[in-house]
Symmetry: D3
Subunit: 74 residues, 6 copies
């Protein structure tokens, strides 16, 4: 009876506006299969919820993601 | 001092784009009343946050919800 | 296909160590019924997860709950 | 290795549609610094995720926020 | 920069008190690899947090999990 | 009306079993003050919830935290 929440930054995909529905479907299937294999969890009662988060709403290293990457690559 | 988070798929409502503000208000009132009745929680410090999730972002049975329903009804 | 998370402080119940299993069952039933009534959500795919949080881990008004109540009751 | 999630109502900012990217950056930096100072947490592995929630999706006192404020100020 | 939260009921494992540390490590690795393969996410900034939830704190079908299973198998 | 959730690994503090109640109180005050200063949020309706997570339940880099640190320092 697992519940999985995947939070990712909204980027990537064909036009860099986030993953495609197909990519999300692969995440859903992969996570559900993993829980079935490792813990014998029933896929029928496994929920996976994906949240896309705007870059300005995600911080790491004390900076919004975009700023953080500039500093890292700088 | 409860905090309640309700996640639902974005569908239903008058034009199938999600619940109306009135329906959400009923969820907020119902949940808050329930916590007051069962656990004597003070409504003034009860928060309810509702998240609507796009169908492609919600998986069950290893499939996005729309696919899952097709298989179930198939 | 709702997912509901209820966070409450760990207190109350017969020995003030938190709600009983019976009280939790009432919360689970009440929340699930509410979603069925208001949004026609299927109880079979409605998850409710309850988290009890220690008083020292919950803050309001800039203070841990126990301190906050002392100040309020003055 | 902290993960911080900040949920706020979508309001305020220059046109009342929510905080600016600059304000969010201050929240990210402030939270990350706080965890470094108090618990010696490494900023490089501190994530901060900000969620803005529409007023109709946030309830307090058994009412959506906008209704609640009317009653309070009434 | 993904954050993944996996919530499971506390059961299973060698003495039915929950998954072993080894099983959790497999979940962590599997989820992280999946995000790297599907979305090219960097494992170094992928967090996975696992929550075990007591059976009485998880509801489905309007019942705590243990009751729900009795009804289903009944 | 903010809600802040801080998740940290259960370690540090005087006997390495996690932060003290005093340290948590500083986190609660600091976060609440930050939201008041940056976004003018009312402390009376600011909730802060702290979750401590066992090391075996937190993964980064595809490994449980303790393993990850061994590899990093190795």
């Amino acid at each position: 009876m697992p519940y999985v929440n995947i939070k990712i930054t909204r980027e990537g995909g064909p036009d860099d506006t986030g993953p495609t529905a197909e990519q999300k479907a692969v995440l859903i299937k992969g996570t559900t299969d993993l829980l079935a294999q490792v813990l014998n969890k029933n896929p029928a009662t496994t929920f996976v919820v994906i949240d896309e988060v705007a870059l300005e709403d995600w911080g790491v290293g004390g900076l919004p993601v975009a700023e953080y990457r500039k500093v890292q690559s700088g």
